[in-house]
Amino acid sequence: MSHFQAGPLVQAPAPSSPSSSEARADFAHHYRDLMPRLTVFVMRHGANGHEAVEAAQAAFALAWESWETIDHPQAWLRRVAYRQLLKQRGQREHTHEDLPDQPGGSCPAETVELGAQEALVLNVLASLPMRQRQAFAWTYDGFSPQETAEHLGISSEAVRQNLARARKHLKQAWQLIKEGAE
């Protein structure tokens, strides 16, 4: 069997851990605090649980290499995790061979077992255009339309419109459930 020869998804410089003990502790604290939320954020972009954990883990692995230079880890990690998801998908679509290792080592998660309601929300989101998923994901992680607009490189008005459309689709799904229950 031939082996996939491409390099890692991100050609990072030689790893260098944070120089101080405080920075390392800070990183570990952020990892514990943010990793699950970051995974959910990626899932809202249409990723399954495994893809999302991989992308979030890769984002943290890249963050570790330059932790002391990252001013806003919450936004930085979300941007990088999203890009990692796109890269993973690009790799998978273009090869049937083994994928290269992700930054951050093996996936540290078991299968994410979702209930019916959670799966429905994520399935509806996965069926939407990417802009709507992004607007929803950033906004529901507590970013204002203005902040979301800055991170996505679009206008605040476009964020609001895309969020409204995403909510409309989700609400339709919710109403169908309600009607089915009644």
Partner: protein
Amino acid sequence: MSKATPTPKTHAEDDTAFDDWLAAADTATLERVEAAIDLDAGCAAIFAAAVVPETVTEDDTDNGHWGHLDTALREAADSIAPWLALRSLFVLPHQLDKAITTTRTMTVVGRALLPDSMRIPWGLASDFLTDCNAHLARLKHGLLRRDLSRQEAIALHDRALADITNFRAAFQQALCTTTHPKAHQVGERLVSTAEMLVVLLRWTRDSITYIFEDSECPTTVSVL
């Protein structure tokens, strides 16, 4: 019996119920993701992948007779990394051996390399290292002879973990009291090694729990 027509819900009420549904689904998703992710494993994987052997510069080796001790400490910390990447019952004895030898190396290196002005605070901090080494050795030998109960094994492990955590805290506090550059250089390395040990010991707890399974007696699986 009257058949009252239900009052139609307003948009606001509808939106509130919809938002509550979304919030409930979000909370449930987050809880399920939290349950699925092993945060210790994920963090350890990043730490382990990032640890690379340091290059010994000429300046380092010019430090005379203790240069090899400095190198030994670097190697002790770096060589913990591969054990963090393995999570299996069968590597538990090696992980405990690594922890035992690392605490010993840290004790020797700290005693030899730290300046005289650090003697007293080092002595206090290194007591925790000595205790940690003793608890780990008792744990390993107890598991080897299968004469530890589950409770005793977990207690020894918890004490060892507390010892290394206390060492780190005590030594870090001592480092704040000195401006000696060599003390900071060696101290940073010792603290970093202690952090790796903490991760390694957290790692081994699951294996120790597992070998006792549901009984008070160690499993018959030959792990040591």
